[in-house]
């Protein structure tokens, strides 16, 4: 009970800090929408891809995944701010294990990341140029997309904690997160379909955890059939399994307030 109270307090604290940082709040939603408008329209009208007749709508799940990637990076980096401000020492001197502290911080990262991604989804759904197919029905498709967003954020926040446990500086952390996650984002199916790719890129796409989150959102929002996709059962199994394992180990990592 007292651990739950502590986790709640930590989540509230990080949420409050997020809402006070207006620039982070606005840019997290503005950037994906800007990319949708510029990149989506540019590719759709400039390159006229034959395989993807509606590229802007195709790109939307990728932008939602990108929002989750950015958000988890920023939220995980707040660990370093807590360490440098000295507040981490105070939290670790409380009657709770470091795991409770990390759980509070990681859960707030999941909530912030998921809220941002859902906001992008909501705004995108209201744009007339973006035409979702909702092949499972609107409510079911929204629920599937919601699930994918939350689980993707669980995975990414856990991964952020795992990386933070190995990297001592915030600059190094940002560098590694970008180095690891950006390539993952590029061959996740977010920008182009994984079908009809050279075998090496197809293999990379299949071992990429982000691909399953993007695939799930494509199925829920963009596709009108499951043909050419991994399929919901595989997406669910891979994404959930990985998220649980990575989140578990991410929050079980050792914490030292000075490193």
């Amino acid at each position: 009970m007292s651990s739950l109270m502590a986790i709640g307090a930590l989540v509230r604290r990080d949420l409050r800090a997020f809402f006070r940082s207006r620039s982070q709040l606005y840019s997290s939603v503005a950037l994906p929408l800007m990319l949708l408008a510029i990149l989506g329209t540019g590719v759709n009208d400039g390159l006229d891809p034959k395989n993807i007749p509606d590229y802007v709508t195709f790109l939307t799940p990728g932008m939602i995944a990108m929002t989750a990637v950015f958000s988890s990076t920023f939220s995980s980096a707040s660990y370093y701010q807590d360490r440098d401000s000295g507040i981490l020492k105070v939290l670790l001197a409380s009657p709770h294990s470091p795991r409770v502290v990390l759980l509070g911080k990681t859960l707030s990262a999941v909530i912030i990341g998921a809220a941002q991604a859902l906001l992008v989804l909501a705004v995108a759904a209201a744009i007339p140029a973006i035409r979702f197919h909702w092949q499972y029905g609107v409510v079911q498709s929204v629920l599937i997309a919601f699930f994918a967003i939350v689980v993707l954020n669980l995975f990414l926040s856990g991964l952020g904690q795992l990386l933070a446990s190995r990297i001592s500086s915030m600059q190094g952390f940002h560098l590694v997160m970008n180095l690891v996650l950006f390539p993952f984002l590029f061959f996740s199916g977010a920008f182009f379909p994984l079908t009809d790719l050279p075998i090496w890129l197809n293999v990379l796409g299949r071992v990429n955890p982000l691909s399953y989150g993007v695939d799930m959102m494509h199925l829920a929002l963009y596709a009108d059939s499951a043909h050419g996709y991994f399929g919901l059962p595989l997406d669910f199994a891979v994404l959930t399994g990985l998220a649980v394992v990575v989140f578990y180990f991410g929050t079980a990592r050792s914490v030292h307030p000075d490193r």
């Binding site: 502590a6 401000s85 000295g86 020492k89 105070v90 670790l92 001197a93 409380s94």
Partner: protein, 333 residues
């Protein structure tokens, strides 16, 4: 002044005479190859203001970080209030860290609220205790101010109020007055003395000799991770000569110091740059002889009562001057 029991419990009279507040036995800790704690053993009775006095890097902060649970001793044992270290025990221990430990984005009230939540205090109790404590440290009118807007002294007082919020029986303080101006120091000490008057044990790590002498009931002098002496400031100085003469020279005084050391009535001679500190039985005949023999080289003289710094020098052979902090030592390691 009301005793702020907070939602926790204030130390009872019975508990003050029970087991010691802190018992550390044979603690060993290394930073890399550097030995920070060398079989350190200490017993700190309840209800005291106990000072750990030594230069930076002597192991004071390392001992405190072990007591807080930030580091785990490689050997030895620690008991606080008769119990081995545990997460649950932290409810009875408050901490004020050496470095600032406030979130700049949070307000004063939010800082207190987070502490209350982390320690599982009921909201009504926590709110009441927060009001009393912030009133007490003169921050009641700054409840909605971001901590970043507070002065150094205010931040320290807030950190103290936060540590007291949970009603700790033992308060660990790592150089709490470091970098504070004299007024802020004095105010902080008023609050610390109040906390002690309520029966709380204060363990203070410091390299401020005057602070230790003035406020501590008992002091342990620490050198290279080992206590070289322990007692009341008066007891520790009992063996020492009464007065200390500080002499400023026009150049390196090594040769003069060697001569002065042989004079009758002279205790220890310590050199710090172009200054010597000499403990003497009686300053008058000493000064007469000094000016007679080396008056042309003396630029200034000041007579003081002997301090714990002199005791430390007598025991260790060097002064309590900042050298390298534990954190720096750890980084080097």
């Amino acid at each position: 002044m009301n005793i702020v029991t907070a939602p926790g419990t204030a130390p009872s009279v019975a508990s003050l005479t029970a087991t010691p507040a802190i018992e550390a036995s044979d603690l060993v800790y290394h930073y890399g190859e550097r030995l920070a704690l060398d079989s350190l053993s200490l017993t700190i009775p309840r209800g005291r203001i106990f000072g750990l006095l030594g230069p930076n890097g002597s192991g004071k902060s390392t001992l405190l970080s072990i007591l807080v649970g930030r580091r785990i001793a490689e050997a030895g044992a620690v008991r606080i209030l008769g119990e081995p270290l545990s997460h649950a025990l932290r409810r009875r221990v408050g901490v004020v860290f050496q470095e600032p430990s406030l979130d700049a984005v949070m307000t004063v009230a939010e800082t207190m609220d987070l502490q209350a939540r982390m320690f599982g205090l009921k909201r009504r109790d926590a709110d009441a205790a927060t009001r009393v404590l912030l009133e007490r440290v003169s921050l009641a009118d700054r409840m909605s101010s971001p901590t970043a807007s507070l002065s150094g002294g205010m931040k320290r007082r807030l950190e103290l109020a936060r540590a007291l919020l949970t009603g700790p029986e033992v308060l660990l303080l790592d150089e709490p007055t470091l970098a504070l101006d004299p007024d802020s120091r004095l105010r902080l000490w008023e609050h610390l003395l109040e906390a002690n008057a309520e029966g709380r044990t204060l363990l203070l790590a410091t390299n401020d000799v005057h602070e230790a002498e003035r406020y501590c009931d008992e002091v342990a002098l620490i050198d290279h991770g080992h206590p070289v002496a322990q007692g009341t400031p008066a007891d520790l100085k009992r063996e020492l000569r009464d007065e200390s003469v500080r002499i400023d020279w026009d150049s390196d005084p090594t040769a003069e110091a060697a001569i002065i050391e042989t004079w009758p009535g002279v205790g220890h001679v310590r050199i710090a740059g172009q200054t010597t500190h000499v403990t003497v039985d009686d300053a008058s005949p000493f000064l007469a002889r000094l000016f007679q023999q080396s008056g042309d080289r003396v630029r200034g003289v000041r007579i003081e009562h002997s301090t714990l710094e002199d005791v430390y020098f007598q025991l260790v052979g060097r002064g309590i001057t900042p050298a390298v902090s534990d954190a720096e030592a750890e980084e080097e390691a």
